[in-house]
């Protein structure tokens, strides 16, 4: 688990990366898109065993649109951006500057394959920005896979099960603010053991620097 100071540092770092992504998305769509990360959690197998419901409030009911990128070399793992499918169409329409048609934007069955392309790019921009930022932070190069997108249906208990199979997961709850609506999403970064150690060492060094500065 992260201390409050570690959480603050991570949250601040990630918000900078995600601010860059928002700027890119705004530029691409010609619309103001704001993004932030209001919540950061580090989940390990042990912490989930101790408290199985620790991340319950981040899970979404029903269908999820999940976009993922595998990263390797300097850091190892896989990163995901997940949206509830019910909000995905709203996000797509906002990106394309289109209004919801016949108020049918709340049904995952309304997603066309071109909509998945748009979601894939949005996720690609956000995940690249965050992972690129972590690469810079740790002064290391990463190799990335081609982004993948899929529609998942996972009941709550299966979502929790997914966590228990990963070594360590950095979990960031995101909020995308579009013109008149906000879309909630979750970013999961599943790090390998060595990678999380590297990251925590860096965060601790920064925390120590901050304490010394404060002292």
């Amino acid at each position: 688990m992260l201390s409050e100071l570690q959480k603050d540092i991570l949250c601040e770092i990630v918000n900078v990366y995600i601010g860059q992504a928002a700027s890119l998305l705004s530029d691409m769509t010609g619309q103001e898109i704001r993004l932030n990360v209001p919540q950061v959690l580090l989940l390990t197998g042990a912490s989930i065993e101790d408290n199985p419901t620790v991340a319950d409030d981040i899970w979404t009911q029903g269908h999820i649109v999940s976009s993922s990128i595998v990263f390797s070399q300097g850091l190892h793992g896989k990163t995901f951006l997940m949206f509830p499918a019910s909000q995905a169409k709203t996000l797509v329409n906002a990106c394309l500057g289109e209004a919801n048609l016949l108020n049918c934007g709340q049904d995952s069955r309304d997603l066309l394959d071109t909509d998945f392309d748009v979601l894939k790019e949005v996720a690609n921009v956000i995940l690249n920005s965050i992972m690129g930022g972590f690469g810079d932070l740790l002064d290391t190069c990463l190799e990335y896979s081609v982004p993948e997108i899929e529609m998942l249906f996972a009941p709550d208990n299966e979502q929790r099960h997914f966590l228990s199979h990963q070594t360590s997961i950095l979990l960031l709850r995101t909020e995308l603010f579009l013109k008149e609506e906000s879309v909630q999403g979750v970013i999961l970064i599943a790090f390998g053991m060595e990678s999380i150690t590297l990251l925590l060492e860096k965060i601790n060094a920064m925390a120590e620097g901050a304490s010394n500065y404060a002292g």
């Binding site: 890119l24 530029d27 691409m28 769509t29 990128i69 990106c95 394309l96 289109e98 048609l101 016949l102 049918c104 066309l112 394959d113 071109t114 909509d115 392309d117 748009v118 894939k120 790019e121 690609n124 921009v125 690249n128 992972m131 690129g132 690469g135 190069c141 990463l142 190799e143 990335y144 896979s145 081609v146 982004p147």
Partner: protein, 316 residues
């Protein structure tokens, strides 16, 4: 040789850039898409051959890929086309997906661009979306027309109360309901006294205003569950439901009569009228809806002949 053949046969446009963003390789599909021969493409900077890549945002994507190794996907839905035929402005409906990734060979970095044409697909989606939009508009219009027709079918357009058709339909319905609960239903037939002289003296617009204000006062005198309708001219008919005693009908009718004798202000014209009201009661007077109306009508005429401005049940 086989590699070359495969690259030229695949249905994806390929461009390979060196670290200075010069095009070092392109396949046959890309040549066809750009309508340019290889000689005009190779060894040129990408932004000189394909103007889209002169835009800072796309240049940045290429540079980010080179320096960070990040793979980037760009949806044609958001970016339209990246490669368009030479000297031809970008077609409005032309759409291409782009994937950018870094390749390394003998310590040198290259950028591989894969361009997939989705124009046909985009056209289908475009038409489908417009079809849905048109259907939505048609649906809204049909709904509005249906609503307007329903109003015309059931309401009196001048006063906003129900019309005669709806009154008849509702009277039959209320009688059926009352058969079950052992209560009674009353019909009131109301005619304004001296309405013709209002029209003759002050004009039809004043007459219309008087009818509208009469409808408002009627609404104030009865329960929300009672039915008010205009039969035509200055005649109104009401259904009072769930009646326990005959005296209650007289009470309500009297309340209405008293309310209607209060002077009216018709856009500055102040005048007073009264009303003659006839009543009938289901089931004691009749069980037939039309007979109930006729009895109330006759009772109203008895009031008229008896001096107007009063309330009565029909007396044989």
């Amino acid at each position: 040789m086989l590699d070359e053949l495969v690259l030229d046969r695949i249905e994806v446009g390929l461009l390979l850039l060196d670290s200075s963003l010069k095009i070092v390789r392109c396949n046959h599909y890309l040549e066809n898409l750009a309508k340019k021969p290889q000689q005009e493409i190779l060894n040129q900077s990408i932004d000189q051959v394909f103007s889209r890549f002169a835009l800072p945002r796309y240049k940045q994507i290429l540079l980010e890929c080179l320096t960070r190794g990040q793979i980037r996907f760009c949806s044609g839905m958001m970016h339209s086309a990246f490669v368009s035929p030479a000297n031809v402005p970008q077609l409005h409906h032309s759409r291409q997906n782009l994937q950018v990734r870094r390749l390394e060979s003998n310590g040198d970095f290259f950028v591989l661009l894969q361009i997939t044409d989705i124009s046909d697909h985009f056209q289908r989606v475009f038409h489908l979306k417009h079809l849905i939009k048109d259907l939505g508009a048609d649906y809204e219009q049909a709904k509005a027309t249906g609503e307007s027709m329903r109003k015309q079918a059931y309401y009196d357009h001048l006063t906003g109360v129900y019309n005669r058709n709806f009154f008849m339909h509702q009277l039959r319905y209320e009688i059926k309901q009352t058969e079950r609960n052992q209560r009674q239903v009353a019909v009131l037939f109301l005619d304004l006294d001296g309405f013709k002289s209002v029209n003759d003296s002050f004009g039809h617009s004043s007459g219309d205003l008087l009818l509208q204000q009469t409808a408002v006062r009627l609404r104030e005198c009865v329960r929300g569950t009672d039915i008010i309708s205009r039969f035509g001219g200055d005649e109104f008919a009401l259904i009072l439901t769930n009646i326990e005693m005959k005296e209650n009908v007289i009470k309500v009718a009297e309340k209405i009569r008293k309310s209607l004798v209060v002077p009216y202000d018709l856009a500055g014209i102040k005048l007073s009228v009264s009303a003659s009201i006839g009543c009938s009661l289901y089931p004691s007077d009749s069980i037939d809806p039309q007979a109930l109306i006729d009895l109330a009508d006759r009772a109203m005429y008895q009031v008229k002949f008896g001096g107007k401005n009063s309330v009565a049940f029909y007396q044989c």
